[in-house]
Point group: C5
Chain length 354, copies 5
């Protein structure tokens, strides 16, 4: 099974509510980083698994806990317990085959989103599921593996750049969504370059291989679309539910992310149009090539078949065949032949075949 359908069947037959990690397994220890900050303070440390995961209760303090992997269900379970998360939420965090969505559990909002990167070596899109929990005074994020697009955010918290330290956890959530969606643009840029490269190649040498490449990119786009499509709905739902967890002046920022996700989607649609255009060009170039081949065949046949016939005539052994004894018969025969050849060449040139 390719990555596109990974794990789709592995949960079947389980008790609902059982915590099982579904996804690529890594053996590394999970690294848990914690930021606690408000306007004045900023603390950053690495949590051990046995520590507790309660948010800092100082005034206006925002606690951001980030896990760089999710392959230890017990740990996820422990976090869920200390923050009073619903069992289904924990199940969803552990299952990496989710489609992007947001769920409002009143006490907290649960968001699943996909972080996408373009794998240049295999020219395909790599995907990592990010789960984010937004609570009253905390944000917890769960990633699938090391490496993310949040370093810029961490720097801003550390250095008190921008408004982030003056705002609540909802603003932190917004910056995270913004970072993920902005990263989509980078991905699309690389994807677009890939497509334009393919398009030029298509014109230079259309080969059966090319078709397979086009088809592969088409599938990547379907996959990309599947990951990005629900995003708009997700953000518009955040807007619609008017959860008390999101302050009023944050909505304007979410609307901005919404606009970006709209643009991302439109670009994906444009790419799909490009790919199907490439398919059309490929198919028609196959037909054109056939025409080329047929032309060559026809030119050779039309010129030499009549001449062969003419040569055959004077290869006959009839006793009474007067031309055979004529003196200038042979040169005249060549004259007629060359005339025929020129005539055919002229005809084909006029038809624009040569």
């Amino acid at each position: 099974m390719s990555k596109h359908f990974r794990n789709i069947g592995s949960k079947a037959g389980m008790v609902p509510g059982t915590l099982i990690h579904i996804g690529e397994r890594t053996t590394e220890k999970i690294k848990i980083t914690r930021f606690v900050y408000n306007d004045k303070i900023m603390e950053e440390d690495i949590l051990e698994e046995h520590q507790d995961f309660l948010p800092d209760e100082r005034e206006n303090a925002v606690t951001w806990i980030n896990l760089n992997a999710i392959h230890e269900p017990e740990l996820i379970g422990k976090i869920g317990e200390s923050l009073d998360l619903h069992l289904l939420t924990l199940e969803d965090i552990l299952n990496t085959g989710q489609r992007p969505k947001m769920e409002d559990f009143e006490e907290y909002i649960y968001i699943v989103i996909k972080m996408l990167t373009f794998n240049e070596t295999e020219s395909q899109v790599d995907v990592e599921q990010i789960s984010v929990i937004l609570g009253k005074n905390y944000v917890i994020s769960f990633q699938e593996k090391e490496g993310d697009v949040f370093d810029e955010i961490r720097d801003r918290i550390r250095l008190n750049k921008g408004k982030i330290r003056k705002k609540g956890p909802d603003y932190l959530l917004y910056t995270m969504l913004d970072a993920i969606v902005d990263n989509y643009f980078l991905l699309l840029e690389k994807f677009g370059e890939k497509l334009e490269f393919m398009e030029e190649n298509l014109v230079l040498k259309p080969e059966p291989e090319t078709l397979r490449e086009i088809y592969k990119q088409k599938r990547e786009l379907i996959y990309l679309r599947k990951s990005i499509w629900p995003l708009r709905e997700l953000i518009s739902n955040l807007d619609k539910y008017h959860s008390t967890l999101i302050k009023k002046d944050t909505y304007i920022y979410l609307r901005d992310v919404y606009d970006h996700s709209y643009q991302v989607q439109e670009t994906v649609e444009t790419f799909r149009d490009m790919v199907s255009g490439m398919l059309d060009i490929y198919l028609s170039s196959v037909s054109n090539k056939m025409n080329e081949i047929m032309k060559i065949l026809t030119i050779f046949a039309a010129i030499f078949i009549p001449l062969t016939f003419l040569a055959g005539v004077y290869g006959m052994n009839f006793k009474y065949l007067p031309e055979l004894n004529w003196k200038w018969a042979y040169p005249v025969w060549w004259g007629i032949s060359l005339l025929l050849i020129s005539g055919m060449l002229f005809y084909f040139r006029r038809k624009n075949w040569l």
Copy 2:
């Protein structure tokens, strides 16, 4: 008539409300199993047809009656009578050609859903209709034949695993829906494997047979889609009607099943895209093959037709044909011929035909 349209006409002209079994007939006796459970008690027995089908009235007790077949209209009628079910419900239970739906009769909710299994021998999808009635303190399920995906649920009831014994019949309904939908993922995994296998084959040897196979899978997908598509609506209706039969904290579980059914649907759509991609590749590979054939023809024709002409020239019987008497005419002729052949081969190689 294939399974896809089975029985569609056999009910026409009947009095509405007449109980007639429409579907594959089995001769076995219907097996009726009953579970009665709550937090403390758990009773499991097999009912005889003459017994009554009233739910257990002890406090918090949930009665789950399951029939493994529906070919005896009188029995269904009797059950309907004791539980006060609408005649149309009974009619629908007996007619296996229903599309998935839910109907709220206030006293009870009636749900029709399809249980799907992948028949590997015939590489097609087998379907079994499940009718479930959710009442105040009971669940009745009607299957088409022996064998289901509920064994896990039975074990959980027997062994008091998870929360099922602490919850009401609505939670039981949820676990049943969850089991059925989870099973779809298994089906899709197998279907996906089948498609990927076909896809590889397509690249290795495209044959007319392949087209028919693609087409067959396309139809299976149409059928699959027809069975799965209404599911989302069904569950979202359960959510919307706010029936008093479903407790508030069960809705969050139904939303989870809803998400899964969404994912199932998306996968089916992806499969459809795969299949139409395969069609494109097949058709274009037929064109490519034609090009191959034409190239071979053209190469042979372009090389040998001019040479045959040249041989014809010196096969002529003109009396005055000076070359015939030249000493080196024959080797020179061969030289010219070989030159022509090399020229053509060089030309075709440059055109990338060889």
Copy 3:
């Protein structure tokens, strides 16, 4: 003009409200049958045109008047007058080119629906427009020609089978809709058989004729769809308007008809998918056939053209052509020729062309 567009222009330029019959004209006299029934009484008679058409006013009595043709505008006008029907309703009854719809005139509900039958001789769908008026205590139905699907209903009224005599005119309307929709299933079954037969034929011998047949069925499906598509909306409108003419417990029956009409529609869509699949198979089989032809041509050309050249070589009349005088030249020549033939045959077999 074919039946698909019959009469579309013949009404243009008329005064709106003028009663003119638009449709196939029959010369027979219109036969008017009347049922009057309630729980206890049941009267059936044939009305003369001069009689009045007022419904029976006894308690709970339902009057069902049925006309088997509509080619006498004066008669329709007279009926309209006695029952106080709107002029536009009468106009619609007389115009057989209506699309299925329902209109609520408060005092009565007007329904247009299509009765479809599969004409096996011409393998096409025949259509008959049925107009039904549901009043407070009566139902009037107008048909285009003799023969309908209501005989079962008549029997039920006569013999007091089922609930029909205990219910009002809205239930009668439901049974009529149910009979018409159930009849669609019969039609679809026959249509499906036709399609499956065509599909098998397609595989055995694809001919240009086949294409035309596919195309014809496609048009029949478009027509079928046009007749069936508005049905769902019609019934859902009946549900939505909450007319006082339809009792509350009848709605559950209408919902059942709605489900059936949904199923009908889905089957029509599946048929459309089948037909376009057949088109694909046809077109690709034409390409495959071309490949076949080209292969035969190429095999013959590739084998014999080089040999003809070789024969031509030794047909030349050069004076100094040493091979001509060799003793074993001729058998050796045949040896080389046969070697070439075998080589080509082997090559083509390896390419799977033979």
Copy 4:
């Protein structure tokens, strides 16, 4: 520029609210006819430009002013002033490139609609824009050129046929819409005949020309659709806004026009299906023709190329070629040749090529 995009750019850069005529210019004088009528009176006259355009204020009197052309902006401006029409309305009246719409200005309703006629000489659809203003007690209609579909309405007013003289201006508006929509049916009938004629021709002799014709009709249909599509919305808006200018019992008539416009639209869609079906048939008949050509080529090549080889064999000049001296060699050679020919013919017949 073809008629399909006429004038689209000619208004750019103008001050909004400037009255400029955009459309085909005619030099004739505009003819203004006026009807004033109610139950008892009926006056018909031709207005001069200097006269005033105020509606008749007698009780229940309806004033209908009709202009047969719009190429004099000053006149339109004057009418607008006396009836207090919005500047944008006047601008729209003068611009013949409007899409059908209705606008409610409270004091009056403004409607734009297209009158379509089938131009048989050029087998295309001619279009004329009609603007109608419905006021409290008047209707003003603006046409592009002489000739319309309202003569029937004029007769009814003159002769007091039907209900028109008893009703208000809203009923007059209805009859006008009805006349225009009924005329669409006539157009569609002619268009349908044209298409059926083309379809038969397609079967008899598919030529490149045919394709261009199909394509042309396809564009006419796109244009037709563009003119008709907004009609349903227009009428449904009339219904929705519940303007006080339209009396309650007129709505039922508008609903009737709505139904007709629905039917018109469906027919246009059916025509589009027909046209794309014709495209399919055309394309596949091109492929079939290619197959025909290839068959002929292959038959000739397969029969004569081997025989030519055989003749070449005995044209060789080997000294030791025993068959040359056999007595029956020549007849035997012919026997073999004829056998080969019959064999090939038999083979091709079995393949159904002959």
Copy 5:
């Protein structure tokens, strides 16, 4: 990267709210023009960057500030500060990759729209983003480069033409939108001419190049559509939000712009239909050309291959070949040959190949 995806990735990883110019950079100084006008006064001047940008507070005075470029984030920041604009608005103004939208910030409305021009040299659509801020008594517009479609508006303000000086800033906004949308019509007219030219060319000489040209125009249309599509929504949102910044009698004007944007959109859709029609014609003309080629080949082969065989027969060297010694053998042979040729020519003419 082509213009279609310019800059899509260049913002990723930035702090949200950082003001960075994304777009083509010009080195010229930004020119800031200011109009202040009401019924009586009209002042026009050019602002220096150090001046303040507060709107004129005289009664009914409207201040219109226009910037002809946006490549100085500090300037934009300063303007934003003095008018109290949201940071996200400033960010959007600076980012030229926005999709058209309107945002209501209560104190002001922010609108992004695309100004499109047809670049005839490269036969592609050039795009310039216009941001407009509508405040209580001011309008600020930001352009990407020198040159716009507002000169007509400036003249009207200067010369007090039309109603503009009597109306507020909302009317000014309307005239700007109107000017931009009217300009689309000009663009579409040129685009339409280009397409009609291509279409004629297509008929005269279909070449592989043509396909690429069609495909290029198709992409331009996708891009055009992307720029125009959101416009309708934008204007309908202006209508829907009922902002107090827009006076009631301005809505009727906005509705007019809405109608125009609808028409623009429909024309774009028609163009897309034209382009795909051209694709169909191109592809089918490739097939037709193939048929032509095959016909020529087949005619030559069918005529000369049998004759070559016939010549081969009498080139054989059998000792006992009686015809060779017949006196009239040679002329008779020619007779038969010419008969065969005429027969074939007649056959092909009857098949309409010649």
